[in-house]
Symmetry: C2
Subunit: 434 residues, 2 copies
Amino acid sequence: MPVFLETSAATFESDFTDLLNAKREDSPDVDAVVAGIIADVRSRGDAAVIELTSKFDKLDLTPETLAFTSAEIDAACEAVPVAERDALELAAARIRAYHERQVPQDQSWTDAAGATLGWRWGPVSAAGLYVPGGLASYPSSVLMNAIPAAVAGVERLVITAPTPGGVSNPLVLLAARLSGVDTVYRIGGAQAIAALAYGTQAVAPVDKITGPGNAFVAAAKRRVFGKVGIDMIAGPSEILVIGDGSVDPDWVAIDLLSQAEHDESAQSILITTDAAYGRAVAEAVEARLQVLERRAIAQASWRDFGAVIVVDDLEQAAALSDRIAPEHLELCVEEADALAGRIKHAGAIFIGAWTPEAIGDYVGGPNHVLPTARSARFSSGLSVMDFVKRTTLARMTPEALKAIGPAAEVLAKSESLEAHGLSVRARLDRLNEE
Amino acid sequence: MPVFLETSAATFESDFTDLLNAKREDSPDVDAVVAGIIADVRSRGDAAVIELTSKFDKLDLTPETLAFTSAEIDAACEAVPVAERDALELAAARIRAYHERQVPQDQSWTDAAGATLGWRWGPVSAAGLYVPGGLASYPSSVLMNAIPAAVAGVERLVITAPTPGGVSNPLVLLAARLSGVDTVYRIGGAQAIAALAYGTQAVAPVDKITGPGNAFVAAAKRRVFGKVGIDMIAGPSEILVIGDGSVDPDWVAIDLLSQAEHDESAQSILITTDAAYGRAVAEAVEARLQVLERRAIAQASWRDFGAVIVVDDLEQAAALSDRIAPEHLELCVEEADALAGRIKHAGAIFIGAWTPEAIGDYVGGPNHVLPTARSARFSSGLSVMDFVKRTTLARMTPEALKAIGPAAEVLAKSESLEAHGLSVRARLDRLNEE
């Protein structure tokens, strides 16, 4: 059974703090291994990647078979049943439409001093998307990573996706094609991240790496951060549902389980103003767990990390939610829009009874790559912004330099940076001569 | 003497690659030391911070004297001469005006399916700005870090600034006050980063840490990344000037030296279409170096990392510039706006003869915290965006769920995530019953 907390209890604050601090992920310290793998790929290139793929993925590649051929991708796409293809196409279109609105605007203006200022956005030239293999090989994640990059205007878009034993997911390849991905490499792990960051003979280096992965991938991303851009270090998935009792407890139960079924480390929390409703939802969870396909995983997650929290009112619910800063927040309450307006920290909000979180995983339009582990306090889900960067622009006229240059000179002197001041002074002197 | 390259030379490609790959920073591997410091601060809090400050900064603090008092800051502000105060106020006003234009817009719309989608931006609740001590204690950097945070609406804004031997810079304290900083702590190094990330008895934890620092600070920021947000891992400063010979070689020489004087690892490069002009600039650099206050530093930087590159035309100059992806790019050419339009990768562009880079360091308006070491390929200078995060919003109606829910169900099944599909199906079944 999950924990059942009530804000009215004397021990609530310490119980809630325990819940916040619960270490859900047992991340092994693989940093030394990963450092070795990165060094190996940097020095030996393809040979290292091929050896490591043989060792970890039981797959023998050559420089020529590192990437799927166009014909192989064609064949995989053909193998996808029409219902899945239609669903992927609908999802891709909706994700594209949402993300097209995120393209940021350039600005340029001339201020009172005569200085023309502004900025300009441009795409990164090349991006690499990591797609996990095995159980967590999700075509929807391909769309969610690749479409924002394509919308941003990234010229070269590649995927690395391990195919242990050579087994690949046709839907992943179709999703790649629908998203405008150029190349899909059959490699994974830290060796794939190293190849993307530093390049090998067969893999051209990229500027930005995104996408989830296991502990090795996460450690490798942290290590190459700075050499290339990365998105985030993702943790296990989470959902917080706030319920006032107005929504069928069975619906909320399934929504909680839709996170719990991801991973034994996933976390599902219900905050409710109604203790009886909280119990009803918990009972509905138990009932659904009896027959759920992934019940072993969902049960472990719900048992170890699940929680039902009873609060006095929705104001209190919003305050606790902000302390949790959940990845996914579902508002199963009557006045859902009003409650959404009170929330400060959440990756994504799903408003009202008819918006199960799973809609956002696939076809809603917003990105499903979202900040986990309370990082919604300071970071955002994946977006077009992850694949663009800004260049600031400034142009002075002689008059503008006269107006603001002397202040720059004063500050340069105060920082003992003489040449900084001289670079302004030399120009101002010329103006005075004229 | 710096290297002198010509694109027409047979060895150019390999010489240029060597220049790109030159390791300018000798970063000692302090990661193990930093890991120990962070663990110590996490377990012992203030006591550890105080001990480490005594050890590294030769400064004895108590929990009560960790932060400057309001009276101490008042006194420091009073001590700033009026010229410096006026210059700082002008800089603050211009930086604020520029950054106010960066505040991103919320969006909300209802699409053809009836889904209401959008996003909302909000500030991080608390930010910590690291201000280096000693030589590199720059009041301008306080403005550049704190003002974007204040414009973003960050509620609690604190600074950590080591004061070795108890010596502080009154201009730094005045800049903090002008920027709306709440508290300035007299601590630095990895212990300051650990205190900001995890909190101690006297230092409340923050959500985002920005600001430059030495190798210990950089390693600590890399380690706490994920627990809190960080801006970037900054390297030594760089300038690239593109010149067509139309601008006084002495001006360009001083501009090159204004980076070189920062740091022996700084890099100054001139790309020019005119070899004679390149030599004239190099001669002007030598002349200026004879009398520059920080000539020892500037000379080492120019000798070890400086370069003059002669190209056929400005098209070639732009292409090489994009491979360098400079932090600062100065366009000392006649058709400077046109050339600016051709550049893809640069942190900041300074357009035309009257815009020395130093203007951007102080009073131009754009931020001077910019991507170094070629990271302008994938990242941007500091901005309001670093202190806000986005929450995505979705609200389905029953009709919208009918329209797009079945596709979500198909994709959930294809990913073997049964509960995801059921969360949609339970709602669709209800609609069918009605």
